[in-house]
């Protein structure tokens, strides 16, 4: 299948591949998978707790070119966004930016799910910290 230039670019030079320590309280980790193809994607955000801004994002994806490109693009978009802005990223934005064909839409959905899962994880962590702080007080 023919990939768009943008997909190829991200595929050949994926941005922000790697990982953070997932026990870091400022790190949110999202791990998602697609059962049809068995692909898995891990996406992490590092949030500045004072501002709620995502300072850095990393990913590692085992999957097709579109999934790699979608997650690579997602990490680029995430940097500098607030947590709430990040949640507004839609898979359709990714589809448009990368000109993904219909059969590859599920790959972009995976990226959106990974963002949501990562933010979710971060939020859960901060809630936990807050409640334990309250409990101590």
């Amino acid at each position: 299948m023919a990939y768009s230039d943008k997909v190829l670019d991200h595929y050949n030079n994926p941005r922000n591949v790697g990982s953070f320590d997932k026990s870091d309280p400022n790190v949110g980790t999202g791990m998602v998978g697609a059962p049809e193809c068995g692909d898995v994607m891990k996406l992490q955000v590092k949030v500045n707790p004072a501002t709620g801004v995502i300072e850095d994002a990393k990913f590692k994806t085992f999957g097709c070119g579109s999934a790699i490109a979608s997650s690579s693009l997602a990490t680029e978009w995430l940097r500098g966004k607030t947590v709430d802005e990040a949640l507004a990223i839609k898979n359709t934005d990714i589809v448009n930016e990368l000109s993904l064909p219909p059969v590859k839409i599920h790959c972009s959905v995976l990226a959106e799910d990974a963002i949501k899962a990562a933010i979710d994880d971060y939020k859960k962590k901060t809630e936990k910290v807050e409640t334990s702080v309250q409990a101590q007080a």
């Binding site: 791990m31 998978g33 059962p35 049809e36 193809c37 068995g38 898995v40 891990k42 599920h106």
Partner: protein, 176 residues
């Protein structure tokens, strides 16, 4: 359900595969287009249609996994697209190890072989629990059991893809 009807079967999840096979052969013979070469065009068409349905029915019902998938779809359950979350972590690590092995790092091999064994075991477990759920559901059709079947199928599919992948890699790399 159409496929069960075609083979003259009650819509049950637990089926005897020899019986399914026998019904398929008997009915295929009965509806074989060769036997309708002199029949009216309507009958001819009917024999072709029946033959096609029988083929589809046999393919769907002979195997417990495809049978359950068919059964769920017919019961109005959309097969979910979610990967089993409790497995993701492990799947991810497994993929890391696969990547290392592809990159020529032989130290990943034992980890993969162990994972392979574990996942193959999980497939066996999934098949066993499917068989159990089938009987339960046939005795007492309960939506909750269908959900269990659904989850098991989902997990099974995921794991079997993995097993195939790992097998392929282990073989490729031991060959050279």
């Amino acid at each position: 359900m159409k496929f069960y009807d075609a083979l003259g079967l009650e819509p049950k999840l637990a089926l005897d595969s020899d019986d399914v096979k026998k019904r398929f052969y008997d009915r295929s013979r009965q509806w074989h287009p060769d036997r309708f070469s002199r029949a009216s065009s309507e009958e001819k068409q009917r024999s072709e249609e029946m033959t096609a349905v029988l083929n589809d029915a046999f393919r769907a019902l002979r195997d417990p996994v495809t049978r359950a998938e068919y059964f769920l779809r017919e019961s109005g359950l959309e097969l979910s697209k979610d990967a089993p979350p409790e497995l993701l972590e492990e799947v991810f690590d497994l993929n890391m190890a696969l990547e290392e092995l592809r990159g020529g790092d032989e130290s990943a091999r034992p980890q993969l072989a162990a994972a392979q064994e574990r996942f193959t075991g999980m497939l066996g477990d999934a098949d066993a629990s499917l068989a159990e759920y089938f009987t339960n559901y046939d005795e007492k059709p309960d939506r909750a059991v269908l959900d269990e079947i659904h989850a098991t199928l989902n997990r099974r599919r995921y794991v079997s893809n993995l097993v195939r992948e790992v097998e392929k890699e282990l073989n490729v790399h031991s060959a050279n």
